[in-house]
């Protein structure tokens, strides 16, 4: 009897606690309970990449949602490759395994022509299943990536972040290092605004590390034989040097100079040669690094500067997880004058605005329940906490959230940077053949990075084969 009483009281306290906890993160719990009522007991299954935002959604948002609505969420987080393989195969075969999938900004252009995603606009017009506080207008312009030509929306932004320049403020501010740099280059050590300065700083820090016998390098890259190396060229290096849209002429979908593209242009070759050459200033294992290892190596304090996905700022700023907490800041990447002018005028961009949305596959058997969950993850009152957990912002109001305002200086003023400089960055171009194209780019880029062929030869072959692929695919 006593044991049963203790158990009952414990359960009551736990229920009250979790309910209270859930209620503090949602302004209108009664609406959610009512909206979820018809779908109580349903299980929805989704898949995403194993990143901090996805883990936050899986570990925090999903259990709270389940508690409130009675809709069970099975949120599978896995590697980037596996996520795509599973999501694409599910949607292509119509097997209906997943009710929501992560739709990255670059792949949405492949999904839309295939009609793989559910149009969410009609759902937004249904008050029974759309949160009164949803506020579509509050989303940043990142949501435009998930619209079709008529403005219908196919994904609710889940995460958005920049890939930009990040550097060690402690190293850049060290008087001994500053003096040594000035003596060598007759210039003050400062955040580089052009590629020559970036190169000099990279060389300086790597040589400095060798002299001092410490593991310190002036450059980092994601140079493994993996799609990441192709992305790094197309999305980071080339745009900052004035080559946009993967070097492809989007009007005729051709890559060779002869057909109006830029892949085999002198500028593209110079940029690629620079990239391959710079690897000598990176850690020895750089050709085994994907984006994960790049971030980990920076977080371990081994690198002075780099252009890295800034979704990592969250854990970099945690002293329990990284060696660089409180020692980093962000800035624009080095750019050519043309690239910066193009970006400001809207004719180009200087780097990658990464991120994705939660979309509902056409084959989902629980679309309404999945729609409720997508809104739950995107609800306003949780965005500040979500930004803290995942270093991502998809709503304009989040920039004014007290949590974000407090976090900003700890993360090198990243949120201010994102708000002010975000418009200079852009996502991937609208290429419906994104996947096969990325594989083709990977083949030739990795051959040059591995030294099998020269960068020039790689780009000549890449341009030629890209044109052949486009023709084969009917473009």
């Amino acid at each position: 009897m006593k044991k049963a009483l203790v158990l009952f009281v414990s359960l009551l306290v736990l229920t009250l606690f979790t309910t209270a906890f859930a209620e503090t993160m949602v302004s209108n719990p009664d609406w959610w309970k009512k909206a979820g009522e018809p779908y109580k007991g349903v299980t929805i299954k989704g898949i995403s990449e194993s990143t901090p935002p996805s883990k936050a959604a899986m570990e925090v948002a999903a259990p709270q949602f389940e508690e409130l609505t009675g809709i069970k969420v099975v949120f599978e987080v896995t590697s980037w490759d596996e996520m795509y393989n599973k999501a694409i195969q599910d949607m292509q075969t119509g097997s209906g395994i997943y009710d929501f999938v992560y739709v990255e900004q670059d792949i949405v252009y492949s999904y839309l022509p295939q009609n793989w995603l559910t149009n969410l606009t009609p759902f937004m017009n249904n008050p029974a299943i759309t949160d009164p506080g949803f506020d579509l207008a509050d989303f940043t312009s990142f949501i435009d990536n998930f619209k079709d030509g008529e403005g219908n929306i196919y994904g609710i932004p889940f995460e958005a972040f920049l890939k930009s320049y990040v550097y060690r403020t402690d190293l850049f501010g060290e008087p001994e290092i500053q003096a040594a740099y000035k003596a060598k280059y007759n210039k003050d050590l400062a955040v580089p605004t052009n590629w020559e300065d970036y190169t000099n700083i990279a060389k300086f820090f790597t040589e400095y590390g060798k002299e001092k016998g410490i593991e310190l390098y002036g450059h980092i890259a994601q140079a493994k034989t993996h799609p990441c190396v192709a992305y790094e060229i197309c999305e980071t290096i080339w745009p900052a040097m004035g080559i946009y849209n993967w070097g492809i002429n989007l009007e005729n979908m051709r890559a060779t100079k002869a057909n109006g593209g830029l892949v085999d242009s002198d500028e593209a070759k110079a940029a690629f040669k620079w990239y391959v050459d710079m690897l000598q200033w990176a850690p020895p294992g750089v050709k085994t690094y994907t984006w994960d290892e790049t971030a980990a190596t920076f977080g371990a304090g081994k690198v002075a500067q780099g252009i890295i996905y800034l979704e990592n700022l969250g854990w970099w700023s945690d002293p329990a997880q990284s060696e660089v907490a409180g020692k980093i800041s962000v800035a624009l990447p080095p750019v050519t004058e043309k690239a910066l002018a193009d970006a400001k005028s809207g004719a180009g961009y200087i780097g990658y605005y990464d991120g994705g949305a939660l979309g509902i596959p056409h084959s989902s058997k629980n679309k309404e329940a999945a729609w409720l969950f997508a809104q739950w993850v995107a609800r306003k009152e949780w965005q500040g906490e979500f930004a803290k957990l995942g270093t991502r912002v998809v709503r304009n109001s989040t920039f004014e959230d007290p949590i974000v305002i407090e976090l900003d200086p700890q993360m090198g003023n990243y949120f201010t940077f994102l708000k002010e400089q975000g418009p200079l960055f852009r996502g991937a171009p609208a290429l419906p053949m994104h996947r096969p194209l990325n594989d083709l780019y990977l083949k030739w880029v990795s051959k040059a990075v591995a030294g099998e062929i020269s960068p020039d030869e790689a780009l000549d072959n890449l341009a030629k084969e890209t044109d052949e692929l486009m023709e084969e695919l009917g473009y």
């Binding site: 393989n85 295939q114 140079a223 419906p432 990795s446 990075v449 084969e472 695919l473």
Partner: protein, 289 residues
């Protein structure tokens, strides 16, 4: 009798249905796809192309390179694993202190999933902190599988040997323990040395086990994927892009279903030919033995 036959077929039918559904139907579907140009992201959909996919295969330098790499990998792995496995098996027939510990440690890699093996080797070969890289650097060898194609190739071979030699050892141990004792006793009486016993008695008697193990290992190494994908993803460049990795890239990354179906069929044909050759060789050598 008839009733018994009915019973037998009744018991076999579910398995046969499953095998047909999982084995035969996919092959028929691949046969169908192989004569089409079909990329999931193509604007023009499926286009009938006859045998052009197969013709393209024969002249595709990337596919031919992956085939050459794959066959080299098979030959080197098997050529090392079989004698090494036999040596270990022989060692385990003797009694000595620590034999149990040796057997346990040696068998551990076999208990792990291939993807875990790949993950372990990623750490072991990491140029920044992996033990292999560090120890080799201490003796003046710059070990970096991200930079050096030959080192990456050798690392994948070593990984396979580390993973699968225990299997070969266990197979040979089973074989050795089932050999008749009389020939060995007769050899001892006749004063044959250990190497003479091995060469003229053990190996000939072990021939069926040897060929079966050879057969299994050739098939397994030819279709290697998980470990190598984890360790190198086929890189650096195309240095370890074995044929299975090449096919997976075509299917899952390029989404080129038509061409990769043709590739898969060609590999199936190649596998059947190799199997037939091996079985013929086994039968001939058994008849002559």
């Amino acid at each position: 009798m008839r009733g018994k036959q009915k019973q037998v077929w009744g018991l076999l039918t579910p398995t046969l249905i499953l095998l047909i559904f999982l084995g035969v139907v996919p092959i028929i579907y691949i046969l169908y796809l192989s004569v089409y140009k079909y990329n999931v992201f193509s604007k023009v959909g499926m286009v009938y192309t006859g045998f052009n996919n197969f013709r393209k295969l024969v002249f595709d330098p990337d596919f031919l390179k992956s085939l050459r790499l794959g066959l080299t990998y098979v030959i080197l792995c098997v050529a090392i694993e079989l004698p090494l496995g036999l040596a270990f098996a022989n060692l385990l027939t003797y009694e000595y202190k620590g034999k149990g510990i040796f057997r346990t440690i040696m068998t551990l890699p076999l208990a792990m999933a291939p993807i875990s093996i790949g993950a372990i080797w990623v750490l072991m070969t990491n140029p920044d902190f992996g033990p292999l890289a560090v120890y080799l650097r201490n003796i003046g060898i710059d070990f970096n599988i991200g930079n050096n194609a030959n080192q990456a190739f050798i690392a994948t071979i070593l990984m396979d040997i580390w993973h699968w030699t225990p299997f070969v050892t266990l197979t040979f141990m089973a074989g050795l323990s089932s050999l008749p004792k009389q020939p060995f006793e007769a050899a001892l009486v006749d004063g044959a040395s250990k190497s003479q016993t091995l060469r003229y008695i053990t190996l000939p008697l072990l021939r069926p086990v040897l060929f079966t193990t050879l057969f299994i290992r050739i098939m397994d190494t030819f279709r290697v994927f998980d470990e190598v994908w984890m360790l190198t993803s086929g890189g650096p460049g195309t240095a370890t892009r074995y044929v299975s990795i090449h096919v997976v890239r075509e299917v899952l990354q390029s989404m080129n279903y038509g061409y990769s179906s043709a590739m898969s069929l060609f590999l199936l044909y190649l596998t059947i030919v190799v199997c037939w050759l091996l079985i013929t060789f086994i039968n001939v050598s058994q008849e002559s033995g």
